[in-house]
């Protein structure tokens, strides 16, 4: 138990690493570009593609990040122009509640079934 306590204290006293703001911007840009579908390619993200369309989108995203626009707003802009399907991460909205929640519901349902099964068969003595 003592070991555990020391352990937890050491754990809490660690520092965090910081990234320079430039690198942070690059990270953000890459994250966004990987989340955008290249619409004229077969199954590639804008990040992976060198097509004209992808190059243009890269430019636009770059500009918007430099202007300080938030990630969400950049996605909103692209969705407004091209439809929801240009973004790989399906946002949680009225169209996608079932998409996100159904697996989690099924997980809980599975857990409940297992709990009941074991409980039922445990009491039979």
């Amino acid at each position: 138990m003592k070991i555990l306590k020391i352990f937890i204290i050491v754990f809490l006293f660690t520092g965090f690493s910081y990234l320079k703001s430039d690198e942070k911007n690059d990270e953000l840009k890459n994250k966004i570009l990987k989340n955008i579908r290249c619409l004229i390619c077969q199954g590639q993200s804008v990040y992976d593609s060198e097509s004209d369309f992808a190059s243009t989108i890269k430019l636009i995203v770059d500009r918007k990040i430099k202007e300080g626009q938030q990630e969400e707003l950049i996605y909103d802009f692209l969705k407004e122009k091209y439809g929801d399907w240009i973004i790989y991460d399906p946002e949680l909205n009225k169209n996608t509640y079932i998409l996100w929640l159904l697996p989690l519901l099924l997980f809980l349902l599975g857990g409940a079934i297992i709990y009941k099964t074991i409980k039922k068969n445990n009491n039979e003595k």
Binding site: L39, I40, D52, F53, S55, T56, I57, L59, I60, K81, Y82, G83, W85
Partner: protein, 173 residues
């Protein structure tokens, strides 16, 4: 009975899935989603091809008439195919053609226009493609038909053909 009930639910669910998949098969699978909401033209500033002046979209689309925005480039092969049809359309008094010169070299574009003719009442320069993205375009050639209320009626991906010309003539009545 519990067993029958769950069976009923499963069967209903399966029939539902079957119907969905069946309908899915009959849907054409283009990768361009239909323009669901009729959108207005975007607001933007663009450089004019001939005068190099920056114009605002309100001025460009100022007249009370139908517009066709056509995205083209000198290096684009299908653009040459559709160009004669654009020339024909430009003769129509109720349409104004606005050209978007996409990711092009100025001299090459000028040569293209001189050689094949200029159907455009105005040409805008889109060196990096960002202007085409404002319209929601995928690439070149692509055309947008705009009505008098400045709403985008139709998006045509790929070169215009005779059929589409007929469609356009119907739309502008």
């Amino acid at each position: 009975m519990k067993n029958n009930f769950s069976l009923l639910i499963i069967i209903t669910f399966l029939i539902f899935c079957f119907v969905i998949f069946y309908k899915g098969l009959n849907n054409s699978n283009t990768y361009a989603p239909k323009v669901k909401n009729i959108k207005s033209i975007p607001v933007f500033d663009a450089k004019d091809f001939n005068s190099s002046a920056y114009l605002n979209s309100q001025k460009i689309f100022g007249e009370d008439t139908f517009y066709i925005v056509n995205i083209w480039a000198s290096w684009c092969v299908p653009c040459r195919k559709e160009h004669p049809l654009l020339m024909k359309l430009s003769k129509n008094q109720s349409i104004r053609l606005i050209g978007l010169n996409y990711r092009d070299n100025f001299d090459n574009a000028k040569k293209f226009i001189n050689e094949f003719g200029n159907p455009y009442s105005q040409i805008l320069i889109d060196n990096d493609g960002t202007l085409s993205v404002e319209f929601g375009a995928y690439g070149v050639p692509e055309s947008f038909i705009i009505d008098k209320n400045k709403k985008i009626l139709k998006k045509i991906i790929g070169p215009i053909n005779e059929e589409i010309v007929e469609e356009i003539k119907l739309l502008i009545k």
